[in-house]
Every structure is written in C-alpha cells, then in structure tokens.
C-alpha cells in the first residue's frame, strides 16, 4: 500500500477566494428583511379563508470546488482550444460528452482512450429559446442545438451563433467553435452554420406566428438591455 499524497498545483486561473469567503459568511441565513401578507388559502377552491403570513427574505449561497474527475482532459482541451472525446477500445463507440468507462453493456465498463475530435458536426435537433438563463437573456432569441460532432455516437447540447432562428433545421452542418477566453465549462463551446441553412417547412400561419414571436423576443431584449 501507498498513500496518495496531497494535490500538486499544475496551473491556476486568477480567482478571488477572499471575496467568496466574505460573501459566504454574509449569506448566513439571517433575514435581510420581511413582509406580512394576507391571502385566501385552504385545501380546496370550495374552502378558502383569509390567512396572514410572515415572509422573511433569507439569503444562502456558496462556492463549490468541483473536479471534472477523469474526464478533465475534455475541459483542459477547451482551455487549449481543442475538442476531445473518448473512444472505447472494445466496441469503438466515441463519446462526447466523454466517459472514462464505456457504457455499452457488452464492454463490461472498459476504460476508454482520448481522441481529438474534428470541430464540425450536425444538428440532431434544436430549439429557439425565448427564455434562456438570466446570464444569456440578452442573446434571446437564442438557438440551442443538440449537436452530433462528426465521428461521435452522442449529441452535445450547445448554443448556436450567427444563425437565423427561422432557418435553423435538423441536419444542418455546423462548425464548432471554442471561446477565445475559455472559463472551463461547456458554455465555452458553441456552433455556427458551416453551410447555407435551409429553413424547415412552415405553413403561412406558422411562419407569421414565428416571426411575431421573434420580434416580440427581440423587442423585450432591446427594452431590457438596450441596443446590442
């Protein structure tokens, strides 16, 4: 037997630990404020009566120190502008998201090998987000797509740029880009069309509705965030 020893620092991004420690101490459950409200309540709509409730505004939050484990190479790759997946030496399935162990039942959890992947793929399916995460709301309407990277047996969800939401379609060939300032998570990866997109078939009513939805979404973004 041997002891594993303590971790050795290879490389580190700037990170203000102090600020978070301070914030974590502050987020210590004590209410920042409160309100007293009256509302009709009861177990059924046939049995309601007014009740008074005290509501406190109670903070909580923390910083997690998360390891990507044995698939860290994928994210190390992103930091270097490269795309990696894993390949099973037994059945040949290629995973991206990578798996350190093959999940093909025949392979008895065989350990996989790293392979560099081409930065191209195809739209397996897509959506147009009119409500995205708050941090991405300014990008709405935002195309999200399940992308099958060439040569892989999986789809990786990612957002698309430089694409007309009206034209995005299943089967569209895409280029996969990695952010110039990668942070170390999947949002560093996005897709852009690698060919002229061909819009899906829509009836005139559907198309009219679609365009109105896009207009409304863009108007909301403009109102909320100003012009881009």
């Amino acid at each position: 037997m041997k002891q594993p020893g303590s971790e050795k620092m290879i490389k580190q991004s700037p990170y203000d630990e102090k600020w978070w420690e301070e914030w974590e101490r502050k987020g210590g459950w004590r209410p920042e404020g409160w309100k007293i409200v009256e509302m009709n309540d009861g177990p059924t709509l046939n049995d309601l009566k007014p009740e008074k409730f005290l509501v406190v505004h109670r903070p909580h939050g923390s910083m997690f120190h998360h390891s990507y484990g044995k698939v860290s190479q994928f994210f190390i790759g992103l930091l270097e502008g490269k795309l990696y997946g894993t390949k099973c030496p037994k059945c040949g399935l290629v995973y991206c998201p990578p798996r350190a162990h093959c999940f093909n039942p025949k392979c008895r959890l065989a350990e996989t090998k790293w392979v560099e992947l081409p930065k191209k793929g195809e739209v397996h399916s897509y959506t147009i987000m009119a409500i995205a995460w708050p941090s991405m709301a300014h990008l709405q309407p935002l195309v999200g797509a399940m992308i099958r990277i060439d040569g892989t047996n999986t789809c990786l969800p990612m957002t698309m740029r430089d694409v007309d939401p009206e034209k995005v379609n299943i089967g569209l060939k895409v280029r996969i880009d990695i952010a110039k300032d990668p942070k170390g998570d999947l949002l560093d990866v996005y897709a852009t069309p690698a060919e002229e997109p061909v819009a899906p078939k829509r009836t005139p009513e559907e198309l009219k509705r679609f365009r109105e939805d896009m207009e409304k979404t863009r108007a909301w973004v403009k109102k909320t965030f100003g012009t881009k």
Binding site: V37, M39, D41, G42, P43, T44, L45, N46, E51, F53, V55, R58, H60, Y68, V71, C91, L93, P97, F103, N104, P105, K106, H124, S125, Y126, T127, I128, M129, A130, I131, A132, W133, P134, M136, P141, L142, G144, A145, M146, R148, N153, T154, C155, L156, P157, M158, T159, P165, I170, G171, D185, L186, L187, P200, E206, R209, F210, D213, K216, T217
Partner: protein, 430 residues
C-alpha cells in the same frame, strides 16, 4: 399475487404561492383522509405495524434537507417506520410504486403515502435552476439549456420525423386547461378563472422555447396530497368502495437525452418500433427511442400492463393521466404506452380520442399544465383524481357530478423525471 388497495385519497390544492408550510399542507391532506375514515387512528400506526412513504423532489427549493422528518413529526407519527423516495419528477409515482411493493412484500399491511412541494421561496430563475440541476450539471445544465429547451429539442425532432404540429401541441394544452375548470384542486382556475380557452389563446401565450409556449408547459406549484394504501384484507376491512392498484411498473433511460440516438443498451430492444422510420431521414443506431420517444415510459408501462394482466391497453383502459410537463409528452406517451403506433400520437389527438367524451379520455384532472405541478405531489394527486373517478366520488370530492365518468373500470397513470431518465406507472381498477 398480493393485492394492494386504495382506501382513501386527498389533495391540498395546487397554487403558487400557497404560503402555507409544507407540513401544514400535508396535514390538510391527511386530515381529509382522517375525516373520510372515522375509525382510522394515527396512534395505531406503530402498534399495528403500518408505515409511511414520503415524496418530495427538492431539498434546494426550501433549503431544507430531510423535510420528511418534519412532516412525519408534524403528523404525530414519530416512532412509525418511514422512508422518503426521490427521483426528480418521477418522485411521486415512484413513491406509490414503492409503497405498493412494500405492501406486496407482506412487510406492511397499510402504508400512508404523502407528497408535496414548495416552489415559491426562490425567484423563478432559481426555481428553474433547482429543477435543471436534476440534469447533468457538467454536461447538460451548463450548456445554457433549461428543461424547457431540452424538451423543446425533443419535440422539434418529433415534428421533423413524425410531423407533429404546433396545432397538435396547442390542442393538448386546450384539453388540459379546459379539463381543469371543474377541479377545485387545480391551479389554473385558481389563478385565471373558470372560462374555457382555445387554440388561439395558446398561440397568444408567450413563447418559452420553440415550439413550446407558456400554456404548453407545466406550472410551478405548491401543494400536497396523500393516499392510504393497504393489503387486500385491510382494504376490505377499511372501505366498502375500494380501488385496486393491479399493476406497477418502472423504468429508466440515459441521464442525458443526447446520449440516446446510438445507445447500445436500447438497440434491438423494441424491433417493431425501430422499423417505424421515414426513408429520407438518417437513422441513428438505436432508432427507438432516439430523442423522439421516452423509452423509460415504454418500459414502465409494459411492466405495469404485464403486472395487471392487461393485453390490449387501449381497449381495456377507461382513462389515462399522463405526466406532461410539456404538451409533447402526451403525443409521445400515447405511443410509448401502446395506445397507438409510434408516430401516431398526434392522430389520437386530432381524432378527439383523448377528449373527455372520447374513446380514451386523458388528462381529466388538467394534469401538469393546469391542475399544477408541485413535483412531489403531482402524480399522487393524479392518482387521487383517478381513484375518485373509479370509486364514483368525483361528485362529492370535486363538487362536479357532471365530471364523473360512467362506470370506468381501469385507469393508467404514469409519471417521469428528467428528460425521461426515470419513469413509473400504475394501473388502477375497481
């Protein structure tokens, strides 16, 4: 086979906010069961070897772990054996399946199932986040996708491959909302009143993630519900109007929907479904379920049918409650539950089969988009509504005698979590 009976059921209504504490909503629900059963004594639970099974999804929404300890204590049941079941959106159906299996094992003659959720404490984007981290936080959640977006990609692919339309989705939303209008436990009428809606109203509701609009997505809710289950002997002792859980099933699929198209675990599992594929679209290695159907729903349904001895689900089942966080799950579910062939769910909607007076009424409660979706309570409430239908109590419990189906025999209720990562199902019969 050891039979499991439903002796009583109750709901403390869905709304948002309710402000009432989880333990108080649970007490309201359990109190309704006690009111129905004057001879049932909570104090007997420990002496007679009964147990409790608790259902809630998230420790994060209230920042409270082991909430079921609070509930159990609040109900005055300390000392009584109790467990919590948690499997995302599948939590409440899995709680019922588990409780039924405990009874079948012979270990407990009676099990009280209680489910709830509180979803109004965090701002809505944080609620979405708390739900989304039931997805893979390294590979799904951080892609920028909410659950809305994942389900939307699945429906967009159904439109491409099967020809589902926006109108099909809107029709499902209309069905749900209008079915909820007589339901005094439903959130939609509590917030929006008692008028019917149309497809045009659905189109006017805001776009969430194309093709899904607001009215086609589950509500976020608070509420609680309870079921008292018992073995055959105790069921007959406790009620003269029993409904039986004659079949249970559960199943799973990959954590990440994106891993499904070539998943070797599914290849060849359902060969007849793999054949249903349009010529002009490239066929993945595992064409069923791909991102089109929910394999876990199929596995759980066929297990429940086999368990209940059902050979022809569409003929034998009187009505269905589908767990539909998004309208497209109804279209896919009808296929995965063997009510029609793959790709033909839309046809059942267009032909009015699932309407209230159709051949196979679905979503009589209003389901997740209209009755509401207080996660840990959702499927328990759908089972309670179905139990009331089968035991001829809708008139009494809803105050809406017109909504009582005429002599229904069997009901099928399903629930699932994630993007179909886990699913459960029960068959009820009189």
């Amino acid at each position: 086979m050891k039979k499991v009976g439903i002796v009583a059921g109750s709901i403390s209504r869905f709304d948002n906010p309710r402000h009432t504490l989880a333990e108080e909503m649970c007490a309201e629900a359990v109190k309704m069961i006690l009111d129905d059963m004057p001879d049932l004594e909570l104090g007997d639970f420990i002496r007679k070897g009964y147990a409790c099974c608790y259902s809630y999804f998230s420790d994060i929404l209230e920042q409270q772990q082991c909430m079921h300890w609070i509930i159990h204590d609040y109900l005055g049941l300390s000392a009584v054996p109790a467990y919590r079941v948690e499997s995302g959106g599948a939590t409440p159906i899995d709680a019922i399946v588990n409780a039924a299996l405990w009874i079948r094992s012979g270990m407990f003659p009676v099990v009280l199932v209680v489910g709830w959720e509180k979803m109004n404490e965090l701002p809505i984007q944080k609620v979405n986040e708390a739900i989304a981290i039931a997805g893979d936080t390294d590979w799904d959640f951080v892609s920028g996708f909410t659950y809305n977006a994942f389900y939307a990609t699945m429906e967009a692919r159904r439109m491409h491959v099967y020809g589902d339309t926006e109108e099909d989705l809107a029709e499902v939303a209309v069905l749900n909302h209008n079915n909820s209008l007589d339901n005094p436990y439903a959130q939609w009428p509590a917030q929006h009143g008692f008028s019917k809606i149309t497809v045009e109203d659905v189109y006017k509701s805001r776009l969430i993630s194309w093709p899904y609009r607001r009215y086609e997505c589950a509500m976020t809710s608070e509420g609680a519900s309870a079921l008292l289950l018992a073995n055959e002997e105790m069921t007959k002792k406790l009620t003269d109007n029993p409904v039986w859980i004659s079949g249970v099933g559960f199943g799973t699929d990959t954590m990440r929907a994106g891993d499904r198209p070539d998943n070797p675990a599914w290849k060849g599992l359902y060969p007849e479904d793999e054949k249903v594929w349009p010529k002009n679209i490239p066929k993945p290695m595992s064409p069923y379920p791909d991102l089109l159907n929910f394999g876990s729903l199929r596995v759980s349904a066929r297990m429940a049918y086999k368990d209940a001895g059902i050979k022809n689900p569409k003929k034998e089942i009187s009505f269905v409650e589908i767990f539909d966080p998004y309208a497209g799950v109804v279209l896919a579910g009808l296929e995965d539950f063997d009510f029609c062939k793959r790709g033909e769910g839309k046809k059942m909607v267009r032909d009015g089969v699932i309407q209230r007076h159709g051949e196979l009424p679905c979503q009589l409660s209003g389901a997740l988009t209209a009755q509401g979706h207080a996660v840990g309570s959702t499927s328990i409430a759908q089972v309670v509504d179905s139990y009331w239908q089968l035991s001829n109590q809708i008139g009494k419990k809803w105050g809406a005698p017109s909504r009582q189906l005429s002599k229904p025999k069997k009901a099928f209720i399903h629930g699932h979590g994630g993007t179909g990562c886990q699913a459960g199902a029960v068959v009820l019969e009189v």
